[in-house]
Symmetry: C2
Subunit: 399 residues, 2 copies
């Protein structure tokens, strides 16, 4: 991922990331993001029934609309851990609250890693002093590093711009490489901004942008127990306040969208074992839901994904996947293009140059375009291919 | 697959399989099954929108309830080939009809292989004479071999027994190793029997048994354009006729179920790159549809499948997959056992011996049992693991 050259810093935010031995290595595994003043907060959570303990706590706390710190550990998801897991997450929050002298309710907690294991509470509690002491303005990348699991590289995106007559900054960090599927797809994404924004506007805009970015990607069709996206806005930019239906709110949304698009593309590119970045656009659908079903049927087909990995121009698998999506289609109106090359229309293959198609399949980024000819609704999904490395990475994750 | 020692032969059925060069090798790729008298017929077809041309023809012909021959080629699916493909399939049927001097409407056609390519009609037409000439009572295994694509071994199952005061035989053959997912899941399955049975009873029983066998398996969650299951019953056993709601019809159904269970287990075991046979049983659901959604969410999770491949007792992925199924659950009532070992209940991990669980994951056959505690409906699915070989097999299928 090409990072913006901009210094990774958001006014009023401090961060840090350290190693406390949860991963059993010297890799960073405990991170903290802290706003020097209580910040407006909005969040989106996984729809998985077995939501991890920290998410249950955050769901309650975010309702109040204010937060000040997010503490995250990697190496253990604290999911499928029942009441003990819930108490463990509360204990982490309490320890941070004591150390920082902020209200417990202003702390958000987060975990990522293996499901079904208890949190190594002592390691976390004994590291919190050092974690807090090390908080600094340039610490965002350390906090990001501390939440990485199978990620190959850190994912940070930042935008600065004038909104409401002041310079504002929006910076997002994300972690995630597998179990990537919407509702929520993010795994963990935290966004920090110094913009002054109304609580309701923040929540509305954040949900909208998440839906068109992180809820439009898929690596393996697997929905995690721990996915969560959080935005904190501390208002220190002192801009004219952002409220509903304003041009400046639109500008804020655009900046946020740029940040999250960059991050979610980075997540797909870093998809476990991924060698290709595939954009799937379905147009001409009767409804958005039809377009979405069609796009995901293609994005989540193992046969389509392995063909891309093998650079095998086996476009018939895309047609088969589309046909299995369950939406009603008029076959004669369906068209399929790959890399701008039409391969199928009017229910028949288009005569094309196979070696040209082979060249398209060799590229790192491939666009798939499906026309349904049934309406004007569309949907796009970013996905990756399915490689032997995906299997290897996931065949021995816990042991 | 352990075959019954019984001779593979069904009274009144002849078969053959030869190589005509469709695969570009000397492997068999054109097969024929023939009943010496017109037989009752029933069939189940894929629900894929882009049904292959031969299926469109068969759907019409099967409605008449009578058929006499099934001709099948491998190496080319004749799918996504439009009107030309349809004409090609008709041409194959016409050629066989001429050669055998049977009515065109009594011929069923079938193709399997690469999607989006025209059928090499000349090769097929020029081979039909030899194919018909070689028809013989012991030819069923040759016909089976001619429809294999990535299958590692042939799949044939046979049962004999007294039904309606006579010995009857039911023999099934199947092909399929990838793109295995219900509606229909069979890829190709043909069943031959000499039982005398009423048309309506045949259709009812066949659909019932297919639903509990081939529509309960999954290798990769990919639904093919060419899946089809056909049964032909020529009545030559001269048994007391099988009609609805009779004990002897029940006996026939049981025998058919044994044949199809053996075949569908063989298909999963031969799943592309499969190293494990996984049975997933979901019980205690409010509805069958809930149980089914839960079972398939687990069976189709790449993360679950890779954990089984890696013999990594990462049971938390099963919980995550279950939680993503979209059905409503009371977490506290959910339990998960693997190989008879309870690992999760009351929303918490059960204390268990990890090395014992590791031993279970090392086995070739693993049973996963989920209890939902919400009702009395259940569903089982057979599936396989996801290995590097699956990726390799599918990364260069056409080229």
């Amino acid at each position: 991922m090409v990072k913006n050259k901009t210094k990774i810093y958001v006014p009023g935010f401090l961060a840090n990331g350290i190693a406390v031995g949860i991963k059993g290595t010297d890799k960073k595994d405990l991170g903290l993001i802290y706003s020097t003043v209580p910040a407006k907060v909005a969040a989106v959570f996984t729809k998985n029934t077995f939501k991890a303990a920290p998410l249950l706590i955050n769901e309650e706390r975010v309702k109040r609309g204010i937060a000040q710190a997010i503490i995250t550990n990697s190496g253990c998801a604290n999911a499928a851990t029942g009441k003990e897991g819930y108490r463990d997450a509360l204990a982490v929050s309490a320890a941070l609250s004591r150390e920082m002298k902020i209200k417990n309710e202003l702390v958000l907690v987060s975990s990522t890693g293996v499901i079904g294991k208890r949190l190594p509470l002592k390691k976390i509690e004994s590291g919190i002093g050092k974690l807090v002491k090390g908080l600094n303005e340039a610490g965002i990348e350390d906090a990001e590093a501390a939440m990485m699991t199978t990620d190959k590289y850190p994912k940070v995106a930042i935008r600065k711009g004038v909104v409401g007559a002041k310079d504002i900054t929006i910076c997002g960090i994300a972690k995630g490489a597998g179990m990537i599927e919407p509702n929520m797809a993010t795994l963990l994404t935290y966004v920090m901004t110094d913009a002054l924004i109304d609580s309701k506007a923040l929540s509305t805009v954040f949900h909208q942008v998440i839906n068109s970015t992180f809820n439009s990607i898929s690596v393996d069709g697997c929905m995690s127990t721990n996915d969560m996206a959080i935005i904190m806005a501390n208002g220190l930019a002192g801009n004219n306040p952002l409220e509903k239906v304003q041009a400046r709110l639109q500008r804020f949304r655009d900046m946020l969208s740029e940040v999250l698009t960059e991050l979610c593309q980075a997540v797909v590119q870093d998809g476990e074992g991924a060698t290709k970045f595939i954009s799937i656009m379905v147009e001409g659908a009767k409804s958005k839901s039809d377009a979405r079903s069609a796009a995901y049927a293609i994005a989540n087909s193992n046969l389509v994904k392995t063909a891309f990995f093998g650079e095998d121009p086996n476009w018939g698998r895309i047609i088969a996947a589309l046909g299995s999506s369950g939406i009603s289609m008029e076959k004669e109106k369906v068209s399929l293009s790959i890399g701008g090359k039409m391969v199928f229309h009017q229910d028949s293959p288009v005569a094309f140059n196979l070696s040209e198609l082979k060249e398209i399949f060799k590229k790192d980024r491939i666009n798939v375009h499906v026309g349904l000819g049934a309406g004007d609704k569309s949907y796009f999904v970013y996905t990756s291919d399915l490689s032997c490395d995906y299997v290897k990475i996931n065949a021995d994750y816990t042991t």
